[in-house]
Symmetry: C2
Subunit: 114 residues, 2 copies
């Protein structure tokens, strides 16, 4: 659980971002983070095992969609909206809007909300 590396804004690739956002669970995670607030790992609720959730968060992180910060044993995740908007203008908003309309990733949410 050491500090994990992230791609810089310049290293983001369209194909990686598109692939990262091609999965319902990951789209759901992006939606949960879309208000820009940082969320603790523990707040996230998804219908998958924790190892699978870890995997999905890694895919998002490696693609540069999210940034993960360590703090003790806890992790905090935040959407890299500014970086994404700079490299791929309009893409994130288009995906989030479409996902909202379609309900993609609705199974993903935050603890204490239903």
């Amino acid at each position: 659980m050491r500090q994990v590396p992230h791609p810089t804004a310049d290293e983001l690739t369209l194909v990686a971002v598109m692939a990262a956002l091609s999965d319902p669970v990951r789209i759901g995670l992006a939606r949960v983070l879309s208000d820009g607030r940082e969320r603790g790992w523990g707040e996230l609720r998804a219908p998958v095992a924790k190892s699978t959730l870890s995997h999905h968060l890694k895919v998002l992180r490696d693609a540069g969609v999210t940034r993960t910060r360590q703090e003790g044993t806890r992790c905090y995740v935040v959407l890299r909206r500014a970086d994404l908007d700079r490299r791929f203008p309009g893409l994130l908003d288009a995906v989030l809007t479409a996902a909202d309309g379609e309900g993609v990733g609705d199974q993903v949410g935050l603890a204490g909300r239903r």
Copy 2:
């Protein structure tokens, strides 16, 4: 080579479209078609075998990104821009713009151009 089915505009799903546009060859095909003109199969140039190209065009077609029309033994492909824009506003433009900037799918082109 009978008439193939296409999803209606309402049947398009975000996940399918995102997945379809997560591959460099398919992004390249979308770019080639992005001027809205219908292109003949034979015009398309991609660095893959023809069976693989057929596969990629099927993925795009099944996702509703393109429409394929038969005419004799030939096929013609066109981007379903209006349908995509209606269902997922801004998505296609964002992807095409990003792809242009990054040169994704540059290996794909039209016959007689280099």
